[in-house]
């Protein structure tokens, strides 16, 4: 408690911040490893499921459409179209559906005071984003082997998937906050909502298919723009794409700031989760 222990001035504040930052990085790293164990375990294939789960679903959907022989407008490859639709949608659904119980299922962790709500949410969503990103690129290249259509700009696809993940991360913080303060009903709505959202998120449609006044309404939705962006990364300029990265990044930033504020409010008001 002596004064000499307390760092003074901005340098001290910076050092203090760096120390806290290192603690948080360490905790998130430990949580990611732990999350890997709790979700996938070591038996029955273990971590393979992390990538196989999204791949299996997306592969089946894409394969089904290819077999039925749906042609896509603008000569887009059917399998490529559904893979760039379903995989990012899988990320969207995965993060939102699992955000309700995120903290309750990890309640024992909060006995350790260095573990915060935010750390747990970041660790979970980080794992989800990395897995889906890997699955997305792997699937697109694997299909490319057969139809000789490889991603035109893989970096753009990666940026798109990560932005999608960050957008969902922001929303998931709001959902989690709501469940923490006792509004568990929110979680009940999320599940059906993510299904009802399928036509609205833009996973299986493209903006240029629609009349221009309708396009204006569609483009208000940042996820629609993200699907356009990811598809441009895969197909290149064969059809028109509509997106505005500034708009998308602003939306990601705003949802994240709002999510953090919600979480902060929830954490200060109801820090009793370790009782659950």
């Amino acid at each position: 408690m002596s004064a000499s222990l307390r760092p003074d001035g901005s340098l001290g504040a910076l050092r203090e911040f760096m120390r806290a930052f290192r603690v948080q990085m360490r905790v998130i790293g430990a949580l990611v490893l732990r999350e890997l164990h709790t979700r996938f375990g070591r038996h029955h294939g273990g971590y393979v499921w992390l990538f196989f789960e999204p791949m299996m679903l997306a592969g089946c959907i894409a394969g089904l459409h290819a077999v039925i022989g749906h042609g896509m407008p603008g000569d887009m490859n059917v399998v490529g179209f559904y893979l760039t639709g379903y995989v990012p949608y899988y990320l969207f659904r995965g993060i939102l559906n699992r955000s309700g119980g995120a903290l309750h299922s990890n309640a024992p962790l909060f006995y350790h005071k260095q573990v915060t709500y935010l750390d747990v949410i970041i660790a979970r969503n980080l794992l989800e984003i990395v897995a889906v990103l890997f699955a997305q690129l792997f699937l697109l290249y694997a299909v490319g082997v057969f139809n000789n259509q490889f991603p035109v700009n893989p970096a753009q696809i990666a940026v798109g998937v990560v932005l999608m993940g960050l957008f969902c991360h922001g929303i998931s913080m709001m959902i989690t906050s709501a469940t923490v303060i006792g509004m568990e009903e929110v979680d009940r709505f999320i599940h059906p909502m993510t299904y009802l959202m399928i036509p609205l998120v833009g996973a299986f449609t493209m903006v240029w298919w629609f009349p221009s006044d309708f396009q204006q309404i569609m483009l208000l939705n940042p996820t629609i723009q993200l699907f356009e962006y990811i598809r441009e990364g895969h197909f290149g300029p064969i059809v028109p794409y509509y997106y505005d990265l500034t708009y998308v990044i602003s939306a990601v930033a705003i949802t994240n700031v709002l999510g953090l504020l919600c979480l902060k409010a929830a954490g200060h008001k109801y820090p009793y989760l370790s009782d659950v």
Binding site: R26, V27, L33, P271
Partner: protein
């Protein structure tokens, strides 16, 4: 050392605040071994949460020396995760407390004597084994202050004696705070006591005197 100054704290039920601690004053120094007694619902767990840093007081101040590391509440059944193995738990805790994961795993394995169960999910453990794991985990990380709940004393006679020996040895260099509503555990572990009653904490230098007062409550 750490200090509570006029601390008010509690929880919310259906939006209504229910304060169980109403103006608690206390200070804990290195080498103290304090037993805190209180009836069910007196606020023992709430007090432990404040001391462990998990719960911010609604009013008043909780001051702690930055170098004074307080353990997580031992024996509350929490702090261990059921679906991963004992070894996974040990490495996880080592990581968040910035220690070498495999060294801690080894220490825990030795202390808890779980044998091959160390590599089985904690869900398959008996409650005694769980207690042993929880206690071994907390012993592997060096703290300046141990918050102990009476439930930790669950376990067979062999473990109980090891628990007491380990606590005895720690007491020389750390603070031990034991929370209980039974008095026999306190007699073994503590040198002084405090009674939590009607939201306030009253300290007694003499343990036997405190127990006598508590039993008349």
């Amino acid at each position: 050392m750490m200090e509570l100054r006029d601390v008010w704290a509690g929880y919310k039920v259906h939006g209504r605040e229910h304060l169980v601690l109403r103006g608690v004053n206390a200070s804990f120094w290195r080498g103290d071994a304090v037993g805190i007694m209180g009836r069910n619902g007196a606020g023992k767990s709430t007090l432990v949460k404040v001391l462990s840093g998990r719960l911010q007081p609604s009013r008043g101040k909780f001051l702690r020396d930055p170098e004074f590391r307080v353990s997580w509440p031992l024996g509350f059944g929490g702090a261990i995760h059921g679906s991963i193995t004992g070894a996974d738990n040990a490495r996880f805790i080592a990581r968040i407390y910035d220690r070498d994961p495999y060294e801690i795993e080894h220490q825990v394995e030795e202390f808890a004597e779980l044998g091959h169960f160390m590599h089985q999910p904690v869900n398959t453990y008996s409650s005694g084994m769980r207690g042993r794991l929880a206690f071994a985990l907390s012993m592997a990380i060096d703290f300046d202050c141990y918050l102990v709940d009476e439930a930790i004393a669950a376990g067979d006679a062999r473990f109980q004696s090891r628990f007491r020996m380990a606590m005895e040895e720690r007491r020389k260099r750390s603070t031990v705070i034991v929370v209980s509503h039974s008095t026999s555990i306190l007699k073994d572990l503590c040198t002084s006591a405090a009674i939590l009653h009607e939201g306030r904490l009253a300290f007694h230098e003499d343990l036997d005197e405190a127990i006598a007062i508590y039993e008349r409550l």
